[in-house]
């Protein structure tokens, strides 16, 4: 009996075990969740992002005018708020082109729910008579997809590369990281713009081969954001590799696979998640930047970057159409702000060591 060997303070072992069961050890994730939930601004950001994501995904379900339906009137129309004009009728499925199967289904559901009713010009119309609100909502889809795909690319490349360098160590690690250093000192935006302009030239040929320009665009953005990820992952792997708890696991006879998946991966994961949330806003900004220069998303597709271009063109000394500027700026600002705040919050929650001294 173990109770004979240890001094239990005169208590029964069973009793102690019951008591001990009540104290749950806190895992990294529970700890992180608790800290994130305590961070009010991060929570608000999470909710805001959730709402934006839902609206963006369910755009075809909403009774908005088509973002492509042209109405070549003379002037952009100023906003008519809902209490002035709630809605009007008259949209058809022909206003939308090239919808995926899921979007088509959602559009039919919308037709079933709302009939031919659509919202009025709550946010006004642009120079081609298109509804600003609808364009912002539909534009968010492209911007979000770009951000997610590019971030995913950077995730796959960066984590693989960084983990490989960290695990292999030694001379291989040195060489791999030297390459990252070299790539770091190249002003990538110039190279990307250069490459995009070359690809743009061959757009039609690419499309004959079944490659859409947009997809190439996503991947190219992903290709430039993996460097930081690789560095961070490699650093984490290196420090974990020599840490005591890994040593302990090895002494206890854990297999390499178990050490890798039970100990290394969860610990690297936290830092990866943090950098993902910080990469997404950077990519969104970059998409806007490239589309702004006319090398990214091409009309009739719409993205927030393209809307920003419209807003720049809408400003002139004679008459500035403020409703082309304010809504898109607010939408973009709010999303990016929320992503940044959430990223900071996650970093504080998941990695207290990285925390800024506040």
């Amino acid at each position: 009996m173990p109770g004979e060997r240890w001094d239990l303070g005169g208590r029964d072992l069973e009793e102690l075990l019951v008591e001990a069961r009540e104290f749950k050890g806190e895992s990294l994730w529970q700890d992180a969740r608790r800290r994130l939930l305590a961070n009010r601004s991060a929570l608000v950001s999470l909710v805001v992002l959730g709402v934006i994501g839902l609206i963006s995904f369910g755009a075809p379900l909403l009774p908005l005018p088509s973002p492509q339906a042209l109405d070549l009137q003379l002037e952009p129309q100023p906003p008519r708020p809902p209490w002035v004009e709630l809605g009007r009728g008259g949209w058809t499925a022909d206003d939308y082109d090239e919808l995926s199967a899921l979007d088509g289904l959602m559009l039919r559901t919308r037709a079933y729910l709302f009939g031919d009713w659509q919202t009025g010009r709550w946010f006004g119309t642009d120079t081609m008579g298109r509804d600003v609100l609808a364009r912002i909502v539909w534009g968010s889809r492209v911007s979000i997809v770009v951000a997610l795909v590019a971030t995913l690319c950077s995730l796959v490349i960066g984590v693989t590369y960084g983990a490989a360098a960290g695990l292999l160590g030694g001379r291989v690690d040195n060489a791999m990281m030297r390459l990252v250093d070299i790539l770091y000192s190249i002003p990538f935006i110039f190279l990307v713009i250069f490459v995009l302009s070359l690809i743009m030239e061959r757009r039609s040929e690419l499309e004959d081969m079944g490659i859409r320009f947009m997809h190439v665009f996503y991947v190219i953005l992903g290709l430039i954001y993996w460097l930081t990820m690789a560095r961070v992952v490699r650093g984490q792997v290196l420090s974990l590799k020599s840490s005591e708890f890994i040593e302990a696991a090895r002494v206890l006879g854990a297999s390499t696979r178990r050490i890798l998946f039970a100990h290394l991966v969860p610990n690297v994961l936290s830092i990866v998640i943090v950098y993902l949330t910080l990469t997404i806003p950077a990519v969104m900004l970059f998409e806007a930047f490239i589309s702004f220069l006319g090398l990214g998303v091409q009309p009739p597709d719409v993205s927030w970057g393209l809307l920003a271009v419209d807003s720049v063109e809408a400003i002139n000394p004679v008459r500035s159409y403020w409703w082309l500027v304010a809504p898109i700026s607010c939408a973009m600002g709010a999303t990016l702000l929320a992503l940044n705040v959430l990223g900071d919050g996650l970093r504080d929650a998941l990695d207290p060591k990285l925390r800024e001294k506040d």
Binding site: I182, I186, F289, S311, V325, L336
Partner: protein
């Protein structure tokens, strides 16, 4: 120090060579060329154009010619109709980027020589704004930590980091050009043309610098030598100015490298919005116009600029903080 510089120079050479080679072969890998238009060109003209830009040479010879520093064109272009020997060029390694494909009468060097001073002026103004606003905001919010001022400044900084610079630019234009009519809307010529684009360009970096300064200052202010300075009766202002700031702004110095690179990049958009004829505008136009030599020239030039600036920043860092040693190149 010397070893550090030599190692840096070696990696610099490798980096630039990679950029040159990759962009050269990318450019040539794409079939067709800058002279393809919808209109059919006469075969003789096409041949002449190809000869003018050496597009009729084998690829390796074109590459060597582009790289320099030797001239493979013995005729110096003089055999071509209208050629006066000026079409030959020395190659990138001696700083000659060759003729522009689109602006037929200009070499890439001419265009850069015209536009780079403008971009540098804009970048300097932007960096000055970023440092001025960022440092003062950071120091203020560290000194009045936890106050309303601190909270407001931090909120502004977070917003500043999140907003794209063209959105900032739009707000500035609406505010200071149309509403208050303080600055001219766009264009180039006087100092007042620079203030607004500089602010828009420097804004996001000011926000980041403010955050760095605040963190750095808070750390320094809790150090013992600061307490000693207070204890020996120095006026708080002197403690701040003479002792705290020096250590507190160190993180900012190491951020100056990335910030400068970011400002150079950001100027692509800002120059476009404010119609400033800088290198950024030319670069974007060259990318859209298929002016490959110009695009490559600017890419290479900016690689060199960013790399040199980063090295300078690293050197400055060791001067400011003797604890740091230059080990890794």
């Amino acid at each position: 120090m010397l070893g550090f510089l030599l190692r840096r120079a070696l990696w610099f050479a490798i980096t630039v060579w990679i950029v040159i080679t990759v962009s050269f072969f990318l450019m040539r890998a794409v079939p067709g060329g800058p002279f393809d238009t919808d209109r059919a060109i006469d075969a003789a003209i096409e041949k002449n154009l190809a000869a003018r830009y050496h597009l009729d040479w084998p690829l390796w010879k074109q590459y060597l010619q582009y790289l320099g520093p030797f001239n493979l064109d013995e005729t110096h272009g003089a055999t071509l109709a209208g050629g006066d020997g000026s079409s030959s060029f020395g190659g990138v390694l001696v700083g000659d980027f060759g003729p522009s494909f689109k602006y037929r009468d200009f070499s890439v060097n001419d265009i850069i020589a015209q536009s780079l001073p403008i971009s540098i002026a804009l970048g300097t103004v932007a960096l000055a704004w970023a440092l001025l606003l960022g440092l003062s905001a950071g120091i203020l919010s560290a000194v009045w930590r936890g106050s309303g001022v601190d909270l407001g400044l931090r909120l502004a900084a977070t917003t500043g980091i999140a907003l794209p610079n063209f959105v900032v630019a739009l707000f500035l234009i609406v505010l200071f050009v149309f509403e208050v009519e303080l600055f001219p809307v766009a264009g180039w010529g006087s100092l007042s043309h620079l203030a607004l684009p500089g602010l828009a360009l420097g804004g996001p970096f000011a926000a980041y610098i403010a955050r760095l300064t605040r963190t750095g200052m808070l750390e320094v202010l809790s150090q013992e030598y600061i307490r000693t300075a207070h204890a020996k009766g120095l006026p708080p202002r002197l403690v701040l100015l003479r002792h705290a700031i020096r250590g507190g702004i160190l993180p900012v110095v190491s951020y100056l490298g990335p910030a400068t690179a970011g400002i150079l990049t950001g100027s692509l958009v800002i120059e476009k919005i404010f119609a400033i004829p800088g290198t950024g505008t030319h670069f974007v136009n060259s990318a859209l116009n298929r002016d490959y030599t110009l695009a490559m020239g600017v890419t290479i030039l900016y690689t060199v600029l960013v790399y040199s600036l980063n090295t300078l920043v690293d050197l400055a860092y060791t001067v400011l903080d003797p604890r740091i040693e230059l080990e890794e190149a």
